[in-house]
């Protein structure tokens, strides 16, 4: 008897025009979120707050009620949604610039207040949609369109380690950094995303996952080389791991 081993998650919309660049990890990340929503059975009870950047089109893929926030304001809007509808599962899907640069105050304060929210942050070390400028997570030495000779301390200072900072907030229930560079790591990423939703559903506090992702277009690399960069350049600085999990420690 035939067994179905692969299917499109029910939480993904049908016939969507795929808007991400070839080889970009956004597609994998959105799919993982959809799979988790399916597995938790929360599609009809969830509200997404989308952000600005390549992440804005998330609502074109996920078949859930969705609100689009101005740049950096996703977690403020999510706070408003959740406080108005405490029984709903409310989550954001943001990039590193949205979450950790222009929206850092909203992000940190949502975690500090212990909002029962889930935040997914794609860290690709650049502003993808605008063509690859320096962002808050751009690595030292990394060449971007606004760091033409590489990120140096004199002009740009240090990149932010997001998952570690969010873990320091007392209202955070779960904070992890994951990568999508291998099948094994994609599986770990899904587990972390699921946990970030579960802590919200159980009312434990703020759930956060930082996902190390590729931007082959702006990195000017093949998808394969881009994943090599994630492993060799990003992971030594942005170390994957669970930085806080109040359900086990």
């Amino acid at each position: 008897m035939a067994t179905q081993v692969f299917k499109i998650p029910e939480s993904l919309r049908d016939n969507v025009k795929y808007s991400f660049c070839p080889g970009c990890d956004h597609g994998v990340a959105v799919r993982l979120v959809a799979e988790v929503i399916d597995e938790l059975g929360i599609r009809e009870n969830s509200i997404l707050v989308a952000s600005i950047g390549c992440s804005v089109t998330t609502y074109d893929f996920l078949n859930v009620d969705s609100l689009e926030a101005p740049h950096g304001r996703a977690l403020a809007e999510a706070t408003g949604v959740k406080r108005a509808q405490p029984d709903k599962v409310v989550f954001t899907y943001q990039g590193d610039g949205d979450f950790a640069s222009i929206g850092l105050a909203e992000s940190m304060h949502s975690a500090l207040r212990g909002e029962k929210l889930t935040a997914i942050c794609i860290n690709n070390t650049t502003y993808g949609m605008t063509g690859g400028q320096l962002g808050p997570t751009t690595l030292l030495g990394q060449v971007t369109t606004t760091s033409p000779t590489g990120r140096n301390l004199e002009y740009y200072g240090y990149p932010i380690k997001i998952a570690e900072h969010i873990a320091l907030c007392d209202g955070t229930a779960f904070s992890a950094r994951v990568s999508l560079d291998s099948v094994a790591n994609i599986r770990k990423a899904k587990q972390a995303i699921k946990k970030a939703f579960e802590v919200q559903i159980h009312g434990l506090g703020f759930g956060f996952v930082e996902i190390l992702s590729t931007c082959p277009t702006n990195w000017k690399m093949t998808p394969d080389k881009a994943h090599t960069r994630v492993r060799e350049e990003m992971m030594p600085i942005f170390k994957p791991g669970i930085y806080k999990d109040i359900t086990i420690n």
Binding site: E44, I47, S66, L67, A69, R73, G80, K88, A105, E106
Partner: protein
Amino acid sequence: MPECLTNKKVLTKGNYAIANAAVLAGCQCYFGYPITPQSEIGEFMSGKMQELKRAYVSAESELAAINMVIGATSTGVKAMTSSSSCAVALMQEGLSYATADELPVVLVSVMRGGPGLGNIYPSQGDYFQATKGGGNGDYKLIVLAPSTVQECVDLTYKAFYLAHKYKNPTVLLADGLLGQMMEPVEFYDYPYPEIDNSKWALTGAKGRDGRIIRSYAPLADNQCVFLEKLFQKYKTIEENETEWEEINTEDADIVLVSFGSTSRNVKTAMKLLREKGLKVGFFRPITLFPFPTKRLAELSKTAKKFVTVEVNMGQMVNDVRLAVNGACPVELINKGVGAPPSAQEIVSRIEAL
């Protein structure tokens, strides 16, 4: 701190009157950040909303506060924030998005002196900020301007109603004088019908596809269609909701035009000038958008002169000039900031014209 009162006449401050009225109007969520001269609104709400098991958040900034209101109203509930001048400036981005998202955001703006940090004295310097907008793109906010503490109550109710009826951000534009002044007021039950929002609110996609509340319109043609629809709505608002007060305008040679707290001394000045035998009328826009352009244009056929009185460097006077459209002169009596000119001062300046 006053209790939430209904069907009672009490002596209270404008800020408390607004907050109490918002609670009675069924405001489910308050998000705010302190700023003088409106901090009493947030203080009142922090206690009352928790007591009633409604939502209250001390937001990390005005940016966050207005976006929390956007989030809450996207689910269909009544929600508000309150702020003042230099901090309302921080909310302009959110207000632009809320018009594009067509969300019933309510903002109470209690004006103080500007530009910059300015001062905490009363001012009408944010007429432009409220009616012309500081956010990007083509949009309008519905703007209601109370002149008494009682109107702070009446127009707070109305702000929630109009915001939901038209799915458009609505501003109650008060000032430091109204916010801090005590007057007898009467509270009553919310007098407007509740608006059905089940067709658009985000409540979880139960048995249906997910709804998207968005302003992003990648294609120019789609955006043109949306803007036409948006401005058709503003036309409907102008036709249905324009509100003003006018006294002794029928035979008036001079029509005094003023809004908000300033209009009170102007009304007295009109009476004093009538006693002196001058044919002076009084005209007070209550809705600043929609502005009573048509009625002012009608009056310009019989009046010989309009004089606007404002506590700013001359903002509403521009809208009066547009309405009058050159039919007769439009003068300005103003001061930059602080308590409005006294009735006697207005009388003297009219006589000197």
